[in-house]
Symmetry: none
Subunit: 208 residues, 4 copies
DNA sequence: ACATAAACGAGACGGTACGTCTCGTCTTTTG
DNA sequence: CAAAAGACGAGACGTACCGTCTCGTTTATGT
């Protein structure tokens, strides 16, 4: 629980400010951070559905109005909070096998964890929530597509690979298994990596 | 809109009755049907999130209490309503190619439509909702697995195919594309069928 | 709890039936009695507000519909049930003092107990419920008025006594005290009897 | 019907505020008033039994949640609403005859109107509803008792008058007549005042 | 210094749905 | 046909969030 104490916020400044001529009180970076962290916490503990602005407000000591000042609804809050902990997109190494495994693993780690929550949200209220999610995952998808396409360029994967669909397959199975509570384990990683690298459909693991 | 008129229900009988010894007024099949149909309607128009018992009650003229007598919450209602329109599980023909395409198509049709909605529901309230969903999709998954495994038995697919994971791949990509609003079209059908049959990862469609 | 067993009701007949020529199955007197007794029980335990047809049905094993066949709503049921235990109207003795005390005491006993409950009912639904209550209490009021008026005739009370209003005073204070939970005890009996007999307003009891 | 328009509430202030340190949005006095007025309206039109929070909400345009924020159930709402229109307790003038008549008249006006409704409520749900009603009527009873006792002090009424029981007699007969729909008219006022002042039991009005 | 402007906390408000409850009606089967 | 069983419509209950709003307080600027 991250209760923040704005008394210590005196003198805080110049965080997230584009430039100089701003009048009035600055946006408190502590508040901003605390809200995002608490959102992540609640998402972990309770999932997207049971995330609520009231809970985040209560946990942080930040008022509801402040949260609604910066995020128009809980979906956008969740999206930004998840973006906040997502880390850097993949850097390809040139080792096709390792890179493909990394792509699979990152997909499992992200969608299997919090990113998956946001796919379960109701996108109906907020017309461009879908766009926001696309913006959130875009860089990662681009990086993953880059990995696949450069491997294809090297001849390690089919030259005309439909990377979009391949990534949808990966994201899809992870999301699906998360929902139906089937394991997201090393076996799956192996199966998916092998599928992409060699075109072998998932098979039962051989006894070692 | 399916307003029902119970005045015409006089003399209704013998629907859904297993047999004989039931006392008291029978469950009105009109009511039962109307609720399920209206639920399907609302699911189509508004999606699961915006489905509500009140809407179904208003649309059908069936009282809320009657709905709650038979379904404990909207998730269970949605599950039964979807089950109600799902049709028979696939019958394999022995033609591997046709059967696999049928599996793909049925998955797209079901999860791409209403069945997908229910995967997006919040399963937290109702402890055995997950089991109910499993019961709902079980027969279809079993049928699909049967298709794949008998093809494998004929030697048309790898003998040790992990059918669970293959079906998760199919269900997953369909659900994922439904969520992110990417097409569920003939191209996808072709790509998925070919992937299963020949192990070729999805590739860009060739110009004809 | 008065569960009745209709198996023993075989052959029962002709109780409370107007007369001989009735066709079809007779109204079961066991059922009738059991319902009235259970109603009295529930009234005692829970009061009118929390009396419900369902509770009476559950307690007796008589079905709701049977109850509704004979009594149109719970108010009428309560009225009849109370009438059922009310005993005979007062017989004046000619001893004015004793008779007046008896009137006071009977009023306290009746309205302070179950009869009071029925005055708290909502009379809005059933237009002639008021008339039914009047019919119920009529004989008792008539007897009480008779007592007062014959005492007046003997010269023991004012010759032009407004017996209606005097009885309203008695009924009123008993009902009021029942509601506000003030005692209905011997002191009150004395005060009221003395008030009627001697025209002394209630005064604090003298130390003995 | 008192639909309120909060758009005009901008700038509203200083109503019901004791002073200074209140934070957050103020309780809207328009809302508060509108709810109480509507409650009084419904009580007059339909009586306590048919009063409902939903009706008050619909009539005022105030949301149910707002009503429940301030009043825990309809009994408490009714009590406050009635308190809101009850006017000041009686001020004795020293003219015994006039004061006693005023006591009688106020009792008839209050209990014969809305205050009587609340005595018919079911006090079972809300454990301290009885206390609330006592708090509501307390000041008026105290004022009335004061009138009687100061008249007794002057020697105009018996020195040991049991004012509680006398007031119960008044409240009781008014409530009783309201229930059984007998008149609460000038004749009754005269009868009761004369009874208290002179100890004459109610008698039939003499022809003039 | 002092006005101005924005951030912030507190919390009231309308709205919508939830799931529960009881009432009185209606329908069906059994005896 | 009486009685038991129990489905049904109606409608109020009280709860829980949502997202909006108003209001007073707290910090920065800029003049």
């Amino acid at each position: 629980v991250i209760r923040i104490d704005l008394a210590r916020n005196r003198g805080a400044r110049d965080v997230m400010t584009t430039q100089g001529e701003a009048r009035g009180r600055k946006r408190s970076p502590e508040v901003h951070q605390a809200v995002l962290f608490a959102t992540v916490e609640v998402l972990r503990e309770l999932g997207y559905e049971r995330l609520s602005i009231d809970k985040v407000a209560a946990r942080t000591g930040v008022s509801k109005s402040t949260i609604y000042r910066w995020w128009p609804n809980k979906l956008r809050l969740a999206i930004e909070a998840i973006g906040h902990i997502m880390g850097e997109p993949l850097q390809p190494t040139g080792d096709t096998q390792a890179d493909v495994r990394a792509v699979v693993q990152r997909t499992i780690d992200a969608i299997g964890d919090l990113l998956g929550e946001v796919f379960l949200a109701d996108l109906g209220h907020d017309p461009d929530a879908a766009r926001r999610i696309a913006d959130l995952v875009g860089p990662y998808r681009a990086a993953h597509a880059g990995v696949l396409l450069s491997a294809a360029a090297r001849g390690d994967l089919p030259y005309d690979l439909d990377s979009t669909t391949v990534l949808d397959l990966l994201g899809g199975i992870v999301l699906y298994r998360k929902i139906v509570n089937r394991p997201l384990d090393a076996i799956l990683t192996d199966q998916l990596a092998e599928m992409i690298l060699r075109g072998t459909m998932p098979h039962a693991p051989r006894p070692t």
